[in-house]
Symmetry: C2
Subunit: 196 residues, 2 copies
């Protein structure tokens, strides 16, 4: 039919979770109903590929050498919270309970997907955490198997270098009813019980 | 965080069926794992917006003034099949049972969505169908309420201009078991029964 349309459909399949039918539907929609949106997306992609890199300090996506949060003088520089993704970092920021800095792994250890310590740039993390200012590292990776393994690995690595390492508390979620919480979570909450 | 990243996430939401979480996931994926794919998609969008227009003859997407299929001298020029989308046209082409030409509506009549005869450029269709060469028009719009209404409207319009108009046969699908076919389809198949 149209070579440009075929190329666009093929390119849309590079998006995660988009198969051939969805890609075709998206291409038709953009060309038929939203050419302005297509042009805007083209510019946004070009600009992002061109300007977005990793913050020299915390490794998250940034347009500048050091991101805004890392440049903020009001944050506590002795606290370093380690998260898997920028989305996780945003969730923690929304809680307004943390005033330290971050390090964003941009992934997790996942041997099955071929992601080892090297792919996560853990050397960059070690350099960051042992700058002499950081005193405590808070591990806030996910509580999945891979997130837990990542936390364990980093914990061992940083404790060996004399840092204080903590982990987000596990337990029954706020508003949770015991009847509907899984047994593993309750077992953990029982082991980690605190004096009331 | 990063303005370019925010802009990209916002632009990705212009894609049909993509909400804020999916857009964010796509943006992270492209920047972290597939910058080449992002650059390719940027180029593909730019090129498509720039070059893809509607075939002067059949109204489908094309890079040239008249699309390849319409320029093909081996097709029967007396037969004109009307479909809703380029995807529908491709499905009919795959059956290898039709050797005529097409007219692609790029939509269907849908008063609820504000799509009337004018938005579908039915004047272009009338001009095409009354060129003196076309003898029979085959209506191959979908068998949904909107597709049926569109077929009915076009049928009346073209019959008034003296053209022979036909519709794809309705009935029990090939391989279909009566027990699992809906009553409306069986009723239709009964009314349209043919001598065996």
């Amino acid at each position: 039919m149209s070579k440009s349309l075929d190329f666009l459909t093929e390119a849309l399949r590079r998006l995660p979770g988009i198969g051939p039918k969805s890609a075709q539907r998206m291409a038709f929609h953009l060309l038929q109903h939203d050419r302005e949106g297509a042009a805007m997306l083209s510019r946004a992609l070009y600009q992002a590929v061109d300007t977005v890199h990793h913050c020299a300090s915390c490794n998250t996506f940034a347009d500048t050498e050091v991101c805004e949060l890392c440049s903020d003088d009001t944050r506590e520089r002795a606290l370093l919270c380690i998260v898997e993704t920028p989305a996780d970092q945003m969730m923690i920021e929304q809680t307004m309970t943390y005033k330290g800095l971050y390090f964003v792994l941009m992934g997790r250890l996942s041997p099955l997907d071929g992601i080892g310590p090297r792919d996560l740039h853990l050397d960059k993390l070690v350099g960051r955490a042992t700058d002499g200012v950081v005193d405590e590292v808070v591990l806030a990776t996910n509580f999945t198997n891979e997130g837990e393994a990542t936390a364990h690995y980093i914990s061992e690595m940083l404790k060996a270098r004399g840092l204080k390492v903590s982990r987000l508390a596990r337990g029954v979620p706020v508003g949770g009813e015991l009847e509907y919480v899984d047994a593993g979570t309750i077992a953990r909450a029982m082991l980690d019980r605190r004096s009331a």
